[in-house]
Symmetry: C2
Subunit: 654 residues, 2 copies
C-alpha cells in the first residue's frame, strides 16, 4: 500500500453506513441538538434521573415513539426504525436505556404479548410517557434462567382476579428500570396458576404506584442505588404481597384464562410457549447490540481524532529540527485502534443485516418458525460479540488517551461505565453464546432451552452430524468468491476474500462438528450428561464465537458490495482485510493446531496486520468520522480542537 492516497467519497461512505434507515439517522441528528440532549457529567444521581426523564418526555413529542408501535395506536410499526433510533442516543446512554425500558421493553411487551384491548388502553400513554412503565422480568435468584422465576400469578375465580405474589427473596424483581422513581405500572412476569394447573411464565400488568407516586398497596419498592453507570436510569427492586389485579390484566396473546379459571393457549407445549413469548421480545437484545456499537464508535472517534494530533517523543532527524511524533504514527498505537475500528465497521454492517432481518420478519405474512429461531440465534451471538467488543474497544480508547481519557469531560469514562452492563443484561453473553451453539447443533429445530444439557447430549447421541454452512448475506457473491478462492498455499491468498471466507467457514465447520462428535461420544457413554456438557463448555463458547465471526464477515462483504464508489470500496476492502486478518491473528493458535495455517503463513498474517495498520492510518480520522456522530454528542474537548489548537493543527470540521 505505497500507492498514492485514495480519494474517498465521504458522502458515499456516510450513505453506505447510514443504510436502510438513513432517514431515521438523519432525523435523529436534527432532533438531538442543543442543551437538552448535550452530554453532561458530574450530576448527582437524583439530578441525572430527573434530566433523563425530562429528555425522554421531550423525545415523546417527536416521531421517535411512533416507530416501534402498531398503526392501530398511531404508530408506524417500523421495527427497524425503532432499533436504529435507539442506537442514535449516544449523547447519554442513560437516555438510550431509559427509552429502551419505556418504549422497547414496557411498551414492546404490551404490544407483543397483549391483545388489541391492551394496545388501545395502554400504548398511547406509554408512548407519551404519561404512563411510565417497568419490564419486571429478572429476579434476584433468576437472571439468566428466566424460565424458573418464582413470582406467582394465581387466578382467583371468585373475584376474577390474579393474585400476584413474591414468595421469597429469590423472587423479588431486581435491577428493574423505571422502578425506583418513575414507574406507574409494571409488566410482571410470573408463573401462572389457574384452574388448578401451572401454565408457566406469563406477563401480567400490575400498577405499582398511584397517581401521586406512592407505591400501591402490597407493592414494596426499593432503590438499587448508585450503579457503575447509567445513573440516569432509576433501577429498583419490587416485591408483591398478594397484589390483586383484574383478569383482563393478563397479557393474553399466548395464553388466556377464562372467567372460570380455564386456561387456553394457541401453543400447547409450555416450553415452546415460553420461548415463543420470549422470542417476541428480542428487539431489546438487537437494540443493545446496536447501542454498544454506537458507544464504541463514539470512543473511537474521540481517541482517533486525539491521537491523530497528540504528539509525544521526538523523532530523531539527521537534518532539520527533531519533530515530535503524532501518536497514531506509532505502530503500537495503530495496533490498538485500527483493528478495533475495522471490527466496528464489520459489526456495523452485521447489525444492519440483523435489523433488516428482524424488521422483515416482523412484517411477514406468515410466521416462519425456523427463520425466527435462526434470527434469535443470530441476535444472541451478535449481541454477545458486539457488547464485548464495545467494552474492550472503549477501554482501549481510554488507555490510548492516557490521563485525558480518564477525565469525565472527555466522555470516554461515561461511555465505558454506561456500556459495561451491556455484556450481561438482555442476556448474559456467556449464556447467549451457549444458546447460539445449541441452535447450531440442532439446526435451529430446538428453541433455546427446550433441551437442557442432558436432552442435548441425548439428542446428539442419536445423530450423524454434519454442519452445513448457511450463508447469511449476499449469497451469490459469497459463493462466487469462495469458489474462486486460491488453494490453501496460494501466494497472495491472505488478501483474497474467497480464501478468507473459506478459512472462516472451514473453522466454523470444524469446531461445530468436533463439538458434535464430542457430545455424541459423551451421550453414547451414558455418563453424567451435565458433566460431559460442562467439560466441553469452552468448546461450546468457541463454536458460537466462530460462527458469529463468519456471519459478520459476510455482512461486511455484502456491505462493501453495495458501495457505489470505487476508491471508497477499495478503502473498505482494506478495512475488511484488517478485520479478517486481525481475527485470524488472534486465533492463529487454532489455525496452527488444526493445520489450517503453516507457521510461515501464520507469521505472514502478523506482518499483514502491521502493513494494513500502516496503510490505513492516513484514513483513520475519515473512517471514524463517517459514523456521523455529531460533534456535540462526542463533546470531548480533546476530540474537538483543544489538542489541535495547542499543536497548531487544523481543528476537525472547522
Amino acid at each position: 500500500m505505497t500507492e498514492k492516497k485514495l480519494k474517498v467519497d465521504g458522502d458515499e461512505l456516510r450513505g453506505l453506513l447510514d443504510g436502510r434507515w438513513a432517514h431515521v439517522r438523519e432525523r435523529a441528528r436534527e432532533v438531538l441538538q442543543g442543551d437538552l440532549y448535550a452530554p453532561v457529567h458530574g450530576l448527582t444521581v437524583d439530578e441525572h434521573r430527573a434530566r433523563t426523564l425530562s429528555q425522554l418526555k421531550a423525545l415523546a413529542g417527536t416521531e421517535m415513539p411512533a416507530y416501534g408501535f402498531p398503526e392501530s395506536v398511531g404508530g408506524k410499526n417500523d421495527i427497524g426504525a425503532s432499533v436504529v433510533a435507539f442506537e442514535m442516543l449516544v449523547a447519554d446512554l442513560s437516555l438510550m436505556v431509559k427509552m429502551g425500558v419505556q418504549w422497547g421493553l414496557f411498551g414492546g411487551a404490551i404490544t407483543a404479548l397483549g391483545t388489541d384491548r391492551h394496545h388501545r388502553e395502554y400504548l398511547p400513554d406509554a408512548m407519551s410517557v404519561e404512563l411510565p412503565g417497568c419490564f419486571a422480568m429478572t429476579e434476584t435468584g433468576h437472571g439468566s434462567d428466566v424460565q424458573n422465576l418464582r413470582t406467582t400469578a394465581t387466578y382467583d375465580p371468585a373475584t376474577e382476579e390474579f393474585v400476584v405474589h413474591t414468595p421469597d427473596e429469590a423472587a423479588r424483581k431486581d435491577y428493574i428500570g423505571n422502578a425506583a422513581r418513575d414507574g406507574r405500572m409494571a409488566v410482571v412476569f410470573a408463573q401462572l396458576h389457574a384452574g388448578g394447573g401451572e401454565h408457566g411464565v406469563h406477563a401480567v400488568l400490575v400498577p405499582i404506584r398511584d397517581a401521586d407516586g406512592r407505591p400501591m398497596p402490597g407493592v414494596r419498592i426499593e432503590d438499587c442505588g448508585t450503579k457503575a453507570g447509567l445513573n440516569g436510569v432509576d433501577n429498583g427492586r419490587l416485591w408483591f404481597d398478594q397484589v390483586r389485579v383484574p383478569r383482563g390484566n393478563l397479557l393474553n396473546r399466548y395464553g388466556d384464562v377464562a372467567p372460570d379459571g380455564t386456561y387456553s393457549s394457541p401453543i400447547e407445549s409450555p416450553g415452546r410457549r415460553f420461548f415463543t413469548m420470549l422470542g417476541t421480545l428480542i428487539r431489546g437484545r438487537v437494540s443493545v447490540a446496536g447501542g454498544a456499537g454506537s458507544a464504541a464508535k463514539a470512543a473511537l472517534a474521540i481517541a482517533i481524532r486525539y491521537s491523530d494530533t497528540r504528539r509525544q517523543f521526538t523523532r530523531p532527524s539527521e537534518d532539520g529540527p527533531a519533530q515530535e511524533v503524532r501518536i497514531l504514527d506509532y505502530l503500537a498505537h495503530q495496533r490498538k485502534l485500527l483493528p478495533a475500528l475495522a471490527r466496528t465497521y464489520a459489526l456495523h454492517f452485521a447489525q444492519e443485516e440483523l435489523v433488516s432481518r428482524l424488521h422483515d420478519l416482523s412484517r411477514a405474512e406468515r410466521p416462519d418458525e425456523r427463520a425466527q429461531r435462526e434470527l434469535e440465534s443470530r441476535v444472541a451471538g451478535l449481541k454477545a460479540v458486539a457488547t464485548w467488543h464495545a467494552s474492550e474497544t472503549i477501554q482501549t480508547c481510554r488507555e490510548a488517551c492516557g490521563g485525558a481519557g480518564y477525565m469525565a469531560e472527555n466522555r470516554i469514562p461515561q461511555l465505558r461505565a454506561d456500556s459495561d452492563i451491556f455484556t450481561t443484561f438482555e442476556g448474559d453473553n456467556t449464556v447467549l453464546l451457549q444458546q447460539l451453539t445449541k441452535s447450531l447443533l440442532t439446526d435451529f429445530r430446538d428453541s433455546f432451552g427446550d433441551l437442557d444439557q442432558r436432552g442435548l447430549v441425548r439428542f446428539m447421541a442419536g445423530k450423524v452430524f454434519e454442519t452445513v454452512i448457511e450463508r447469511t448475506a449476499a449469497i451469490p457473491l459469497i459463493e462466487r468468491l469462495v469458489s474462486a478462492a486460491p488453494g490453501r498455499d496460494g501466494e497472495d491468498a491472505l488478501y483474497n476474500r474467497g480464501w478468507q471466507l473459506e478459512l472462516l467457514e472451514d473453522r466454523e465447520k470444524h469446531v461445530v462438528e468436533g463439538l458434535a462428535a464430542r457430545l455424541r461420544r459423551a451421550g453414547k457413554d451414558g455418563g453424567d450428561a451435565f458433566e460431559a456438557f460442562n467439560r466441553a463448555q469452552d468448546h461450546v463458547l468457541k463454536a458460537g464465537r466462530v460462527h458469529v465471526d463468519r456471519v459478520v464477515l459476510e455482512a461486511f462483504v455484502a456491505g462493501i458490495d453495495r458501495c457505489g464508489d470505487k476508491a471508497t470500496a477499495k478503502l473498505l476492502n482494506r478495512l475488511c482485510d484488517l478485520y479478517v486478518l486481525s481475527l485470524v491473528e488472534e486465533d492463529r493458535a487454532w489455525f496452527l493446531e488444526h493445520e489450517r495455517l503453516s507457521t510461515s503463513r501464520a507469521k505472514a498474517v502478523t506482518r499483514a496486520v502491521d502493513d494494513l495498520c500502516r496503510g490505513l492510518r492516513p484514513y483513520a480520522v475519515q473512517l471514524a468520522d463517517a459514523f456521523g456522530l455529531r460533534d456535540e454528542w462526542l463533546a470531548a474537548p480533546i476530540a474537538l480542537g483543544a489538542e489541535h489548537v495547542r499543536q497548531g493543527d487544523p481543528v476537525p470540521g472547522a
Copy 2:
C-alpha cells in the same frame, strides 16, 4: 487431581502471603477499621474529597507516615514498609492515591532530591499533612516524555531567586494530585536555566496557596473536575506566571546553583543526571503495582465468594430433585476466575521480591548502578503487567457477578473505575514495556532514554548479541529445577516445573535475540532508524512482556519454596501450574510458530488448564480469603452473606 481434599494450613498460607512486612499488614488491619475508613459510595466529588483528606489526616496520627521518611525527621526509613502500607489502603483507592501523592510523591521527592535542610524544614509538616503538597511533573504536552517538559526555572542572580514560568499551554502542569483543593506547595519539575546555561530538568519547591487557601500571586490553578474514578483525589492544573522563589527552594541533591548562578552537579551528563533523579522516584511506580494487585485481590475475593454460592440453571438429575448449580461449578466460570487468581498470586510474590529489592538497595552502603537500572527495568515491566492484569481481572469479576457486579454497593464498580488509571499513570504501560526491552537489549548499561531509537538501532548494529538469562529469585533452586527438566517431549513435562521454567526462558531468549537481530539488520541498512524501530514495536513490547512472565514465575517458585506446610505447598504448586499453563495457552500461537510445542502438546495444554481449574475449584474461596483483606474493606453484600443467606448456605467467616 481426583485425590481427596488437601488440608491447607490457613495460617501458613496467610503468613507466606503477608511475607517480610507481615507486621505492617497486620498493623494496617488493626488501624483501618470503623466508619472512618469503611468504603462508601454515592458521595459527591466535594464530599469525597473532604472525606479523603480527613482520612489522610487521621492516618497521619498513626505510624504510617513514618515508614517512608528518614530517621533524621523521626521516620523509620523503611521503604518496604511504606510500599506495603500503601497497598493495604484498598477500602478506598482515593485514600491510597492521596496518601501516595502526599507522602510518596511530594514527601518522597523532597526526601530523594532535596538535602538535609529541605528535610528538616518541610518533611515534618509533610508527614503531619500540615503542609499538603503536589508533585508537579506531568505537563499537558509532555506526559510520557518528561525529559522534554517545558516549564522553566530561570535563576536571577540579582535577587538570588528562581523565576518559575509556564511558557505555553503545552507546559501547564496537568492531572496534579492535591492541586485542585488541598495543596499548599508543589515540587515543580522545570528546565533549569542558570549562569547562561541550560541544565535540564530539576525540581523546585513553589508555594501555590497561602495559609487561607488562596492561590499565590502568579499561580493559576484549575480543577480537573470529575474523573472516571479516584474522585476523592483533587487533581488539578497549574500555571506559573514568572513566580519567584528563593534560591534555596531548588532541591539540590543532584544539581545546585551558587549565588552567582554557577551550576554544579555530582553527575556530569545531563541525561544521566535526569535519569538518576527519576530513578530515585521509582517507589511510586512500585506502589502502583502493589495497589493494582490489592484491587484485583478485592474484586476476586468478592466474585469468588459470590459465585461459590450463587446458583443458576438446574442440573438434570436422574433420581432425586433437580438441583440448581453453583456458578463456580461451571467450567466457563472457573476459566474466568481461576487463572486470574493464579496470576494474582504469582504477581503477589513478584511484587514482594520487588519491594524487597527496592528496600535493600535503598539501604545499600554503596550505590550499585547496574543493580539500580536492573531494578528500574523490573519495576517498569512489573508495573505494566500488574496494572493491566488488575484492569482485566476486575472487569472479568464485574461480568462474573452479572447485574450484582454493576451495583455500587458491591464495590466492584469503584475498584474498576479507581484502578483504571493505573495502566497509564506513573508511566504509560506501553512506554514502560519499551523501556524495559531497551534495558534488556543494552544489558542494563543504558539508562532509560539515554539512547533514543536512532541511538539504540546504531548501538545494536555494532553488537553480537546474546541474551544471558539472569535469574532473579531462588537462583540455586531454579537452576536445579531447570537442569533436571525432562526433554521437550517428556510425557508429564507439562506439569514439570523445570520444563516450564525452561520453556519461558527459551521464549524470552528467542524473542529478545530475534529483536536484536532485527534491529541490527536495520542498523546496518542505514535506513530510517525511527521507522525501523517503529516497525518492530510489537516485537519490542512482546520482549518486555515475556521477560516479565519469566521473572514472575521465578518469584512464584521462590515463594512456594518458603512454604513450611506440605499440603499448602502442594496446593500452591497446582496454582503455579495454572499460572504457567494459562500463560502458555494464551501464547501458544507463538510456541507453535516457533516449534516449541507440537500441535498435540498445545492441545494438551488447554486440557491441562481445564483440569487445573476443576481441581482448584474447591479451594477457590480459601485461596481468595488468604489475601487477608478485611470483610469491611470488601464491604460488598454479595460477598458478605447476602447471597449465602438467600441460598441457605453458611455465611463466610460467620
